[in-house]
């Protein structure tokens, strides 16, 4: 549905998007993850036909964004970072205007309008002036605007910004519900959002793609094995030797003992190995006091940091 090949955008000597390539299949939800200023918005703006790329190609719904911009725009719905609403219009008249400029035939408009109002849960506000709505409602009007004409591709730039937790859950559910019949790209810098809603994730950093995969694969691939953290009262040296001897342990780190004799140790395991029961059994067999033992699996957050800091380490610092 969406094919992006070597997309590059630079303005005024700054390369905002640097040879980005990815594809999104029909009915899929792709998450764009990256810190602010990573190039997410620029990529989305190119895909929506808002701005041209410096080089590279992008095809949306089979049309080239540079050559068939109008066709592309006919097939997309787009929610920019700030909802593009007219404060002096009512919700219904605004959505009607959007339906008209998206060339939806007159006989279908009424049904689509009602549908969008219902999906985004703003039917009770249809007669309200947009300027009187709260931030969350405005955001939902923006969302309604992106899907009111039932486009093949929906592009959402940070769709849950400004919503309260309950609304965030509603919007995520709505987005998930749209998948299948629509192809969706959404950007965010909130990591759990990606793992909750997206089929695949593109991690983008400084205009480049750092990783593309499913949230699940990303987590397990980069985990580099499980870590186990223990809180124990034991002689440090003996403990270290014991832990290092456990088969499957790749490294052991000890914190200096606290005044009450507690030690914090972190054991890293080879991929696939689960050391928790062995560690517990060995420590208990020695007669040491085990206060806490827990496995730590890397969250997307860690992966994200890992990927983006690795990148930073490779590039030489300025000056």
């Amino acid at each position: 549905m969406i094919e992006v090949q070597d997309l590059t955008k630079s303005y005024g000597g700054v390369t905002a998007v640097d040879h980005v390539s990815f594809r999104v299949n029909k009915g899929e939800i792709l998450g764009f993850l990256g810190p602010n200023g990573a190039g997410k918005t620029t990529t989305m703006r190119i895909l929506t036909g808002y701005m041209p790329a410096t080089s590279g190609t992008a095809r949306v719904a089979g049309f080239d964004v540079a050559h068939d911009s109008l066709e592309v725009r006919r097939h997309i719905g787009y929610l920019p970072e700030a909802p593009p609403v007219y404060p002096d219009m009512t919700v219904a008249s605004y959505l009607d205007f959007v339906l008209r400029i998206k060339n939806v035939p007159a006989e279908k408009r009424r049904g689509r309008l009602a549908d969008a109002l219902e999906k985004t849960n703003i039917a009770d506000k249809r007669g309200e002036l947009i300027k009187r709505l709260s931030r969350g409602y405005k955001q939902r009007v923006g969302l309604a605007q992106a899907l009111v004409h039932d486009p093949d591709v929906i592009i959402l730039d940070e769709p849950t910004v400004g919503l309260d937790p309950k609304q965030i859950i509603e919007v995520r559910r709505l987005i998930k519900g749209l998948a299948g019949s629509h192809t969706i790209i959404l950007s965010t810098h909130i990591l759990p959002e990606v793992s909750m809603t997206c089929d695949r994730v593109v991690i983008i950093h400084k205009g480049r793609i750092a990783a593309v995969d499913t949230p699940h694969n990303l987590t397990s691939q980069l985990k580099g094995g499980q870590k186990v953290q223990i809180d124990v009262q034991a002689p440090p040296q003996l403990l270290e030797e014991l832990l290092a001897r456990i088969p499957g342990a790749t490294s052991v780190q000890l914190s200096p003992p606290r005044a009450d004799g507690h030690l914090l140790a972190t054991v890293e395991a080879a991929p696939g190995a689960d050391l928790r029961s062995q560690i517990a059994a060995q420590i208990v067999a020695k007669g040491w006091a085990l206060y806490e033992l827990r496995g730590i699996s890397l969250s997307l957050e860690d992966i994200f940091l890992q990927l983006t800091t690795d990148e930073a380490a490779q590039t030489p610092p300025p000056n």
Binding site: P52, R73, Y78, E81, P84, V85, M89, F97, Q145
Partner: protein, 262 residues
């Protein structure tokens, strides 16, 4: 065409829900009414005193009150327009850009030309609506004068105002497309209008080529013909060229928003 109409419809709706249109039209009509009354009274007094003089000294110097009133009135309309059009056009693109709604328009299946024409036609409609009530003053005067002046005089006058308005609305909208700030747009537009107004100031009566060019470019010089009931092709061409040029520049400017760093 459908997209153009959608933009036009949105713009008209915008004018009539926002207070700006009401304030501009209201102020315009109050000033027009006031000045029309003053102009009419002035010329009637003058004609009366002339008549008295002619009774005393003979040789009646005729004064054509309705045409004189019309000339002054249309002159006045042009000055009011100079002040009010910048207010009407300042938001045309500047506001859309600031609110981010330009991004909606430009990612919808609408061409730049459709956006620009839709907005222009809406502003021209509002301008015509604003002028409409003033026709009642003039019509009233026509019905009360004897002999009745030719209707062509009034129609030529209104044709002139509309053409002048079209040119200025297009220019104002173009300037609005250059900035995100409405105040800057209004001030620049007002400055540009004023420059076009007084362009021929130093060149009046000059016979040099440069002087003649400047005279031709002055926006108000062509307008004088209309107030005298003359529809000159060169004047019509002048206003239409100004309008088309500005609309074209606006299309280019809107298109360039895609390239400028947002």
């Amino acid at each position: 065409m459908r997209s153009l109409y959608a933009v036009y419809r949105k713009e008209m709706g915008h004018y009539f829900v926002s207070p700006v249109a009401y304030v501009v039209v209201g102020v315009f009509l109050i000033l027009c009414g006031f000045f029309f009354d003053r102009i009419l009274t002035f010329f009637m007094d003058q004609s009366l005193s002339m008549e008295m003089q002619s009774m005393r000294f003979g040789a009646p110097p005729e004064i054509d009150v309705p045409s004189e009133v019309l000339r002054s009135f249309f002159g006045l309309l042009s000055s009011l327009v100079l002040f009010l059009i910048p207010v009407l056009t300042m938001g045309a693109y500047a506001e859309e850009r600031k609110r981010g709604t330009m991004e909606l328009l430009m990612t919808s299946p609408v061409t730049e030309t459709q956006i620009v024409l839709g907005k222009f036609l809406a502003s021209l409609t509002l301008f015509a609506i604003m002028l409409l009530p003033t026709a009642s003053y003039v019509t009233f005067m026509y019905l009360r004068s004897d002999p009745r002046p030719p209707w062509g005089l009034m129609l030529a006058g209104y044709a002139g105002v509309l053409l002048l308005g079209a040119g200025l609305l297009a220019l104002g909208a173009f300037i609005s497309s250059l900035t995100e700030n409405q105040i800057i747009a209004a001030v620049l537009t007002f400055g540009a209008f004023l420059m076009l107004w007084v362009l021929d100031l130093g060149a009046r009566g000059a016979s040099s080529l440069a002087g003649q060019v400047l005279q031709y470019l002055s926006v108000i010089r062509h307008y004088d013909d209309f107030t005298r009931g003359i529809i000159d092709t060169s004047s019509v061409t002048y206003y239409l060229s100004l309008t088309v040029l500005c609309l074209f520049l606006t299309v280019r400017s809107v298109d360039s928003m895609r390239w400028r760093r947002a």
